[in-house]
C-alpha cells in the first residue's frame, strides 16, 4: 500500500525542489537501510538462532516431539489463538465503538476504566480466575452448599478457561487501537453515510468499521502474538501450547535444541498471523484523519440499547478488572505486614525506570522504522522490519536466552582483547549485566507493540496532506514537526502506553538480563510464585497495576482532548 503511495508521491511532487531529498538520493538510502538493520538487530539475532536450530533437527528427539507433542500443541495453539482473537477482538471493538461513538450512562467512566485490565498481567488474572472458579473455589463451593451439586459448572482448567481469561486480559489492545481510530475518523463520516440514506447499522458496518480496519487488524495481530508467546497464563490452566512444550523440552529433557526447533515451528504460526493482518490492511481505505469528532454529536443510545451498553461495559469491567483486583487487594492486606518494607520504593522506581526507558527507546525506534517504510521502502527494509516485529510472539525466556548468549559471547571476545592489551590488570567486562542489554532485549521483544500503532497512524496521513503542506512551503523536518507530529500524537501515546505496561509486567527477560541486585516489581512476583506462593505475589502485582495506571491515566486525558490536539 504505502509503496504505491511513495511512487505517487514522487511523481506528483517536484522532488528536485526538495534539496534534502535530492542530495540524499544516493547517500541516504544506505544510511536508512543500515539504521533499520541496526535497530532490528536485537530481534534478528535470536530469530536467526531459532531458524538455524530448526534447520538442523536432532532426529531422535524430533521423532518423539512429532509423535507425542506436536499434534496436541498445534491443535491447542490454533484453537487458543483463534478463540482469543475472535473473543478479545469483538469485545475490544464493541467497547471501543460504544465509548467513542455513543452516549450512554457511565460512558465517561468506562472510557478510561475499560483500559485498566491492561495493567493486570495475564498470569495473575489466570491465577485469580482459577482460584475463584475451580471446583474448590468459593463460587462452586457456595453453589454446592446451596444446591448440593456443582457438576454442571463449566470446568475452568481447560482450553475454554484459557481463552476466556486471555481474552479478558488482552482485549484492551484492540480497544485502545480501535478507539483511537473511531475517535479520529470522527462521527462525521458516519453522519455523512447516514445522510446518504444508510441506516445506522449499515453505516456502521459499511463505513465506520472498514475505516477502522487497519487499527482493529493491528490490535488483533498484537493479541495473537501475545497469545502465542504466553507461558504464564496457559501454565495455570495447564493447557499445552507451543510455549509449554518449549519449556518442557528445555527444562524437562535438557534439550535447548529441541526447544529452539519447537520455537521454529511456532514462527510459522506467527508468519500466518502477520500475513493475515497484512492482507486485511491492504484492502482498507484511508481517510483524512482530520478530527471531526467535536463537530458531530455522539449517538445518544435509547431504550434497550442504552441498558445493554451499560450492562455490557459493567460486566467486562467487573470480570477483567474490579473482581480480580479486589481479590489481589484482599491477599495483599493479608500478607502486607510481613512483606511491605522500604525496599518497595526501590522495586517500583526500577520498574518505572525500565518501563519508561523502554517506552522512549522503542517508540523512537518505531518512528524511525515507520518513516523509513513510508519514504524509502524497499523489499529488504520491509522484510527486516516485519521479521523484527516477530519477537513479540516468541516466548520471553527463549528470546531472553537468544539475546543474552550472543551478548555474552561478544563480551568474552572483548574481554579477551582487553586482557591481551592490559594483562591481568584488565577490568572485568559485564556487557550482559548492563541496562543497554536489558533495553536491547526489550526492543527485540516489544518492537511490535510500539511499531503497530505508529505505522497505522502514519498510514492515515495521506500524501494529499503532505502535498498540501509542501504547497504551503512546509517541507522536510518542518513537515514532520508541524504536520505529522500533531496528527500522530494519539498513535505515539498509544504505542508508549502499550510498551510501558508490557515492560512493567515482563518477567523472563528482566530476570536473566538485569544487573546483579536489580530487583523490580515483576521479579518480586517471580520470587513469590516460583514456589507457588500466589497470595504473597499479590503485593507486587498490585504495585504493578498501580504503576501501570499512570500511563493509562495520561493516555485517557490525552484521548479525551484528542479533538483539540489533533487539529492540524
Amino acid at each position: 500500500m504505502s509503496s504505491i503511495d511513495v511512487k505517487g508521491h514522487a511523481g506528483s511532487v517536484p522532488t528536485r525542489d526538495l534539496a534534502t531529498q535530492r542530495s540524499g538520493r544516493r547517500v541516504r538510502l544506505p544510511v536508512s537501510t543500515v539504521a533499520v538493520v541496526l535497530l532490528c538487530l536485537p530481534a534478528l539475532v535470536p530469530l536467526a538462532a531459532i531458524v538455524v536450530a530448526a534447520l538442523s533437527p536432532e532426529t531422535e528427539i524430533w521423532n518423539h516431539l512429532a509423535t507425542y507433542i506436536l499434534p496436541e500443541v498445534i491443535r491447542n495453539t490454533l484453537l487458543l489463538t483463534i478463540g482469543v482473537a475472535l473473543l478479545a477482538g469483538s469485545i475490544g471493538t464493541t467497547l471501543a465503538w460504544l465509548t467513542a461513538m455513543c452516549e450512554f450512562p457511565g460512558r465517561r467512566f468506562f472510557e478510561w476504566a475499560l483500559l485498566l485490565p491492561l495493567a493486570i498481567p495475564a498470569y495473575v488474572l489466570a491465577f485469580v480466575a482459577v482460584g475463584f472458579l475451580d471446583f474448590s473455589g468459593p463460587l462452586q463451593t457456595w453453589i454446592r452448599a446451596a444446591t448440593g451439586s456443582s457438576n454442571w459448572f463449566p470446568a475452568i482448567r481447560t482450553g475454554g478457561g484459557a481463552i476466556f481469561v486471555l481474552s479478558l486480559a488482552t482485549y484492551p489492545y484492540v480497544y485502545l487501537l480501535a478507539r483511537s481510530a473511531f475517535l479520529t475518523q470522527g462521527r462525521r463520516a458516519l453522519e455523512a453515510a447516514q445522510s446518504l440514506g444508510l441506516g445506522r447499522g449499515a453505516a456502521t458496518w459499511r463505513v465506520a468499521l472498514p475505516m477502522a480496519r487497519p487499527w482493529i487488524a493491528a490490535g488483533i495481530a498484537l493479541i495473537c502474538m501475545e497469545t502465542l508467546a504466553d507461558f504464564g497464563a496457559v501454565s495455570v490452566f495447564n493447557y499445552n501450547t507451543f510455549t509449554t512444550a518449549i519449556y518442557r523440552a528445555w527444562a524437562g529433557m535438557f534439550s535447548v535444541n529441541a526447544a529452539l526447533e519447537l520455537a521454529g515451528v511456532l514462527m510459522v504460526f506467527v508468519l500466518i498471523v502477520l500475513a493475515v493482518e497484512r492482507k486485511s490492511r491492504a484492502v482498507a481505505r484511508f481517510s483524512s484523519s482530520r478530527d471531526t469528532s467535536r463537530d458531530a454529536p455522539r449517538m445518544s443510545l435509547q431504550g434497550a440499547a442504552r441498558g445493554f451498553a451499560f450492562v455490557g461495559c459493567t460486566i467486562i469491567f467487573l470480570l477483567a478488572f474490579a473482581l480480580p483486583f479486589t481479590q489481589l487487594l484482599l491477599w495483599m492486606l493479608k500478607h502486607m505486614g510481613r512483606d511491605l518494607d522500604a525496599r518497595y520504593f526501590g522495586f517500583a522506581a526500577r520498574s518505572l525506570l525500565l518501563a519508561a526507558a523502554a517506552a522512549i527507546v522503542i517508540v523512537a525506534a518505531s518512528v524511525l522504522l515507520a518513516y523509513v517504510l513510508r519514504r524509502k521502502e524497499t523489499r529488504f527494509t520491509r522484510l527486516v522490519i516485519r521479521t523484527a516485529t516477530m519477537g513479540y510472539a516468541i516466548p520471553g525466556t527463549v528470546l531472553a536466552i537468544g539475546i543474552l548468549v550472543p551478548v555474552i559471547s561478544l563480551n568474552n571476545v572483548l574481554q579477551g582483547w582487553l586482557r591481551d592489551w592490559l594483562g591481568n590488570s584488565a577490568p572485568t567486562l559485564m556487557l550482559h549485566g548492563t541496562l543497554v542489554t536489558v533495553l536491547a532485549a526489550y526492543l527485540a521483544r516489544f518492537l511490535a507493540a510500539g511499531f503497530s500503532p505508529i505505522e497505522s497512524g502514519l498510514q492515515r496521513i495521506t500524501h494529499n496532506i503532505d502535498e498540501a503542506a509542501i504547497g504551503l512551503g512546509v517541507v522536510g523536518r518542518q513537515l514532520v514537526r508541524r504536520v505529522h507530529l500533531p496528527l500522530l500524537r494519539t498513535s505515539l501515546t498509544t504505542a508508549a502506553t502499550l510498551v510501558f505496561v508490557d515492560v512493567m509486567k515482563e518477567m523472563p527477560i528482566t530476570l536473566i538480563t538485569r544487573p546483579v541486585g536489580w530487583e523490580t516489581l515483576a521479579t518480586r512476583v517471580f520470587e513469590m510464585t516460583a514456589e507457588g506462593d500466589w497470595e504473597r505475589a499479590a503485593l507486587p502485582a498490585v504495585a504493578i497495576v498501580l504503576a501501570g495506571l499512570i500511563p493509562v491515566a495520561l493516555l485517557t486525558r490525552r484521548s479525551s482532548n484528542v479533538g483539540s490536539s489533533n487539529v492540524a
Binding site: 507425542y68 509449554t244 524437562g252 555474552i408 556487557l431 541496562l435 520470587e527
Partner: protein
C-alpha cells in the same frame, strides 16, 4: 517541543549508553556471587547472616535454573558466578554434566551431607530435603487402604486420584526414581494407571490439588510436604493428611535443594566455605526451616511443625539418578498422556 540537532541527539544518546556501560566494567568485587533458582526470600536471610558472621559479602541473581545454567554456560571461563544453587537435583546433575561445576574435596561437606544427597563426583551437595509423598482425604480414605506410589495405579482408585502436571520437575524426579527402581516398562504401566485414575485434569500446583481433595473432587494425590505445611498453616483443620508410602520398601521419594561451586569460579575457597557453612547445624535449621523442608544434615532435626507430621523412612538411592533419568521420565509421561 525541545529541538535537538541530529548530532547533538546522537551525542546525548552515546553519553547515556556509555554511562550505562560503566556499571558493566566495574572491578570484580570480592565476596561470593550465587546464581540461585531458590527464591530470594529463602536465601537472603541466610546470606545476610553469613555476611554478618564472616564479613564476606554474598550477592545473588535469582531466576529459573534453565536460564541460569544457559547463562553460566555462555559465560564460560569469564563467568563471575561462584555458586549455582537450585531447587532440584536434576538441574544440578545437568549443570555438572555440562561441565559447569567443579569437584569440591571438603571433609566438612562429606561429613555433614549423606552420600545419597550429593553428587558421586562431589560437584554438588544437597542442602535441604523435600519429601514428595501421598496426601489423602481424612473424610473418605482410611490410611490402611494406602501403601505405595505404585498402588495408586490400581483400578480401585479410578476417578479418585489428583495429580499435578508432569511439567513440574518434582514429578519428573519421582518418575525418574521409579524408573531406576522398576525399569522403564513397569514404570510406564504404573504411570499409565495413575493417568487412568485421574478425577480431573492435572493441576498446575500442589496447593490447588490439596484444596481439590478437601473440597471432595478427588481422594488422594501426591505433593511436596512443605506445600502441605503452608496450606495447613493458612487453613488449619482442612480434612487432608499426609501418608508415608513404601515404608516396607524403598521409602518416601525425596529430592534436594542444593548447590555446587562453578567450574570457573575465581573464589573457590570462599565459595566452598559458604557451602560448608550452609551444611553446618545452625544454617541447616534455618535453610530448611524457612520453607518447612527437612535439613540435609541428619544431625539436625526438622522444625517442630514439620516433625509433627510423623517420622518416615526415605529412599536412599542416590538422587543423581533423578537427573540422569529425567529426560527418559519426561518421554515416558508423554507416551502415556500424563500432561
Amino acid at each position: 517541543m525541545v529541538r535537538l540537532g541530529t548530532l547533538r541527539a546522537a551525542g546525548l544518546g552515546l553519553a547515556i549508553a556509555a554511562s550505562m556501560l560503566i556499571g558493566g566494567c566495574a572491578q570484580r568485587p570480592d565476596g561470593v556471587l550465587v546464581y540461585s533458582a531458590r527464591n530470594e526470600q529463602l536465601i537472603k536471610p541466610l546470606f545476610d547472616l553469613y555476611t554478618q558472621e564472616t564479613g564476606v559479602p554474598v550477592r545473588f541473581v535469582t531466576d529459573d535454573a534453565g536460564p541460569l545454567i544457559e547463562r553460566l554456560g555462555a559465560e564460560g571461563a569469564d563467568t563471575t558466578a561462584d555458586v549455582l544453587m537450585t531447587v532440584d537435583a536434576g538441574e544440578l546433575w545437568y549443570a555438572a554434566e555440562r561441565g559447569l561445576l567443579q569437584p569440591v574435596d571438603s571433609p566438612i561437606l562429606k561429613a555433614n551431607i549423606p552420600e545419597h544427597f550429593r553428587d558421586p563426583g562431589n560437584r554438588w551437595f544437597g542442602l535441604s530435603v523435600r519429601a514428595r509423598t501421598i496426601v489423602y482425604s481424612t473424610e473418605r480414605v482410611k490410611p490402611e487402604d494406602l501403601s505405595t506410589y505404585e498402588a495408586l495405579a490400581d483400578p480401585r482408585w479410578k476417578g479418585k486420584v489428583c495429580l499435578r502436571t508432569s511439567k513440574k520437575v518434582y514429578n519428573q524426579s519421582l518418575v525418574a526414581m521409579l524408573i531406576s527402581e522398576h525399569g522403564e516398562q513397569q514404570t510406564e504401566t504404573i504411570v499409565r494407571g495413575w493417568v487412568n485414575n485421574l478425577a480431573t485434569n492435572v493441576f498446575s500446583n500442589d496447593v490447588l490439588l490439596m484444596e481439590a481433595i478437601a473440597a471432595g473432587q478427588c481422594d488422594v494425590g501426591i505433593v511436596n510436604t512443605y506445600y502441605f505445611g503452608r496450606l495447613l498453616r493458612d487453613k488449619p483443620g482442612l480434612p487432608v493428611k499426609l501418608f508415608w508410602p513404601d515404608q516396607q520398601g524403598q521409602g518416601v521419594h525425596v529430592n534436594i535443594s542444593g548447590a555446587g561451586v562453578t567450574r570457573y569460579s575465581r573464589h573457590e575457597a570462599a565459595a566452598t566455605k559458604l557451602l560448608e557453612w550452609l551444611s553446618a547445624p545452625k544454617a541447616q535449621a534455618l535453610f530448611a526451616g524457612e520453607n518447612m523442608e527437612y535439613p540435609a544434615n541428619p544431625a539436625i532435626k526438622a522444625d517442630a511443625a514439620v516433625l509433627a507430621w510423623g517420622d518416615f523412612k526415605h529412599s536412599e538411592k542416590n538422587i543423581a539418578q533423578a537427573g540422569a533419568l529425567q529426560a527418559d521420565a519426561v518421554r515416558l509421561m508423554d507416551r502415556v498422556g500424563y500432561k
